[in-house]
């Protein structure tokens, strides 16, 4: 008995040693199916993930950055929503980023991030993302991980078939999900059919990333749901799924699901580009904001634009065709070769795959089965490459691994299904928890996917994590797709409602990531780049405070001469030049957010003091051992007082 007991203890000990001992073995990590799931998602303390994943925040309006395979959230990048954490959308410099033709819009619904491409491969310069509600497209720098530009899309509504880039980032597209009067006008809603339009906007992207609307394609008033560009042979084309080709204006849940087939719109954008370059199209009135953040002045500016070029697709021969696709297709995905265009018919059990080369033949043969508002409808059978039968219920989106396989999400049956391009056979299926929307393979909608991991972005969380009351964050799952069968490795919660995501190998961008803003490049109008430049300047009721921070004091830290009724602008420059030494600034009673100021940066917040007294401000970011001492006072005097402006540090006036 005693012996058995000893052996048992030894056995347990052995197991324990084994489980502790292999932290350093990397060959097990890279093995396809070998090793356990925990090892394959474990990234040791201080080590970096292999991939960046950029997840849209949905109704958070922002973009979150994750590491894969760990599923660790690295950052939230504010894009379309105010972000009090660092003052985005509150600071004077960034408020213009959220200007629109509807005025200042503090919130957005961010959907489909897409990374810029060169020759059909991810190049890691920028991420583009669309705002669905108040139609806008944003460009985010992957050097700064900051939003640099937002352009509003005029005449659009429900900017959903967006923001996908062409093979060399020639264009980013923004298609309207809701058809609307074009241009807007006062009319009876039930006169929608035939009178509403569905403009598809092509935004040219310059070498410096700057966006400019090149043209809007005035399409019939269907709902344009999702899109992807052609690549390889099909480069020069763009494909958009449509639904509600019934043009129902009410109870679309039923009325937009009457037709057996809707369409994939195939747009030859090269032809249209040539057409507008040769003077084609009609300039019409439009009103839209174009907001650009300048890194040298560290300030955003808004330009209101008032014209847009519109193109009637029927005027450009051979530019636009419809491919019938069952059944209210949602995702529109193009395989890495550019030959296959997958229509994910969300009210179907089958997937319809179109062939680009067959489409071209059908166009050449004028193999039409009719037209929709004079746009040719190609014969369904003539463009059909194949059908994935009985994949599941409710296919939504497809990504590719670059090894001849496709991975489709099925919302209703809550699973991810792997199938083979060309033979259309189902190879594997794995459950998702629960009700997966998009999936993402890094580069999975480019010419060169990195087919090692797949993330499923799930709509329903239920019991996957510790309960947190009725409202839950959404859930994502990571699968290893390097082997024949998919393997579920881990769950991780996400922020907001991620729709699509974009992933890229970390080594394509991490060495370019900026560490600081250089003080000697700071051209902010109100910067004080050393303490001797700090001061207070009164201009009527406005008082500008040029302030600096360094570990661990403000200059000035005693301010007098402010009066009730003034508007105080705190322009705070962080004089640090070392990586990751931010300072914060918070003022008691300010009706706005704090500032988080990175080294070399200048940010501005306003304060309108309402009460006489001596009011403190302080640094919000634990910057050093003396952080708690990083504080100051503002003396606020009565409206009619004669207290002169006075700014000091260590009781000495600064000049």
């Amino acid at each position: 008995m005693k012996n058995i007991f000893k052996i048992a203890i030894l056995g347990v000990l052995g197991l324990f040693i084994q489980s502790c001992g292999n932290g350093g073995s990397s060959d097990q990590k890279s093995g396809a199916i070998s090793g356990n799931a925990a090892e394959r998602v474990y990234v040791a303390p201080g080590e970096h993930d292999e991939f960046y994943a950029f997840l849209s925040g949905g109704y958070s309006g922002n973009l979150t950055v994750y590491g894969l395979p760990s599923g660790r959230m690295l950052k939230e990048i504010p894009v379309f929503s105010q972000f009090p954490t660092n003052g985005y959308g509150y600071s004077e410099e960034t408020v213009p980023m959220l200007n629109t033709s509807f005025g200042f819009v503090p919130w957005g619904d961010a959907h489909h991030p897409d990374i810029s491409q060169t020759n059909g491969e991810l190049d890691g310069r920028w991420v583009f993302i669309n705002e669905n509600n108040t139609p806008r497209i944003a460009r985010i720098s992957l050097e700064y991980f900051e939003t640099e530009e937002i352009i509003e899309i005029p005449h659009s509504a429900g900017n959903h078939s967006s923001s996908f880039v062409t093979e060399n980032t020639e264009y980013v597209v923004a298609g309207t999900r809701f058809s609307v009067p074009y241009p807007q006008e006062d009319m009876a809603i039930d006169e929608m059919k035939g009178n509403f339009k569905g403009p598809l906007t092509f935004i040219a992207v310059g070498d410096d990333g700057r966006m400019k609307i090149d043209f809007q394609l005035k399409m019939p008033g269907f709902n344009y749901d999702l899109a992807h560009p052609g690549r390889g042979d099909s480069h020069g084309w763009f494909f958009f799924t449509t639904y509600n080709t019934e043009e129902a204006h009410t109870m679309q849940e039923v009325n937009a699901s009457q037709n057996d087939k809707d369409f994939i719109a195939a747009v030859n954008w090269k032809k249209i580009q040539e057409y507008v370059q040769n003077g084609g199209g009609e300039e019409i009135d439009a009103e839209y904001a174009h907001n650009v953040f300048d890194h040298s002045t560290q300030t955003a500016t808004t330009t209101m634009e008032n014209k847009v070029l519109t193109v009637d697709p029927r005027e450009v021969e051979g530019a636009v065709f419809f491919m019938p696709t069952p059944k209210s297709p949602h995702g529109c995905d193009v395989d890495p070769s550019g030959e296959y265009i997958v229509g994910n018919g969300k009210l179907s059990t089958d997937l319809t795959v179109h062939s680009f080369s067959k489409m071209i033949t059908a166009i050449e043969n004028e193999d039409y089965e009719g037209d929709a508002y004079d746009i040719p409808i190609l014969n369904f059978d003539s463009t059909l490459a194949g059908t994935v039968k009985e994949g599941g219920l409710g296919p939504l989106h497809t990504e590719f691994d670059g090894k001849g396989n496709a991975y489709t999400t099925f919302f209703i049956s809550s699973e991810v299904v792997k199938w083979k391009l060309g033979t259309w056979e189902v190879l594997d299926r794995q459950p998702s928890y629960y009700s997966v929307g998009h999936n993402m393979i890094p580069g999975g909608n480019s010419r060169k996917p990195f087919g090692k991991y797949m993330v499923s972005l799930n709509k329903i969380t239920k019991d996957r994590y510790l309960p947190t009351g009725p409202e839950l964050e959404h859930s994502a799952q990571l699968y290893d797709i390097s082997g024949e069968k998919m393997e579920l490795l881990s769950d991780f919660p996400t922020h907001g409602e991620p729709h699509y995501a974009a992933g890229i190998p970390a080594d394509k961008i991490k060495s370019k990531s900026r560490k600081i803003y250089r003080l000697d490049e700071n051209e902010h109008e109100y910067a004080a780049t050393n303490e001797s430049e700090t001061k207070m300047v009164r201009d009527g009721k406005d008082v500008h405070v040029y302030m600096t921070t360094v570990r661990s004091h403000f200059s000035p830290d005693n301010l007098e001469g402010i009066k009730v009724g003034d508007k105080v602008y705190f322009h705070v420059t962080n004089l640090e030049q070392d990586f990751d030494v931010p300072h914060g600034f918070a003022m008691i009673g300010a009706n706005t957010s704090e500032l988080l100021i990175m080294p070399g940066q200048t940010k501005t917040i306003t304060w309108e003091p309402k009460k006489v007294g001596v009011w403190p401000f302080y640094c919000t970011d634990f910057c050093s051992a003396l952080h708690q001492e990083m504080q100051g006072y503002v003396r606020v005097s009565g409206q009619n007082s004669n207290v002169p402006l006075k700014w000091t540090l260590d009781d000495e006036e600064i000049n």
């Binding site: 003080l519 050393n530 360094v550 570990r551 200059s555 030049q577 003396l626």
Partner: protein, 171 residues
Amino acid sequence: MKLIVKIGMSLALVISLAACGNSEKEDKESLRLDDYSSQTKEKKTEAKDASGDSGDDLSNKGIGPIKSMDLPESIDSDMAANGASIFKNMCSACHKMDKKFVGPAIAGVTERRSPEWIMNMILNPEQMIKEDPIAKRLLIESNMAVMANQGLEEDEARAMVEYFRQYDKQN
């Protein structure tokens, strides 16, 4: 038997202390925050050491990229002017020439420290305040206000040495 246990225990203690010890903790050992009188006393001794200017200080070249350098007798006034401008933009928030501010006063620094030490303190402050005996002492004197790394290049640090030399010659 009892003795053996005691020895065993103290050995274990020593080992566990050794395992946990690191230089940062050692720095703080001399500072007992719960005892103001001893803290003040220690600070006084430290201050005395600092002003003592023992010959050892000048021979200390610090830790960092600058191993040794030869300075000419004459001052390069252009370089010194450049150093003054860098000092104003990058350093003056914490250092004044003629008074202790967040960090020590700079006046006389070229008489107290080797040029290598000065440049290493500018270029490699994180390691200096952990490992260099003078820098460690100064950190405590400065109430743990760390010397900031302002990301300067070697030639910029060199220009500042020139500015300090010029200042010390003229004052």
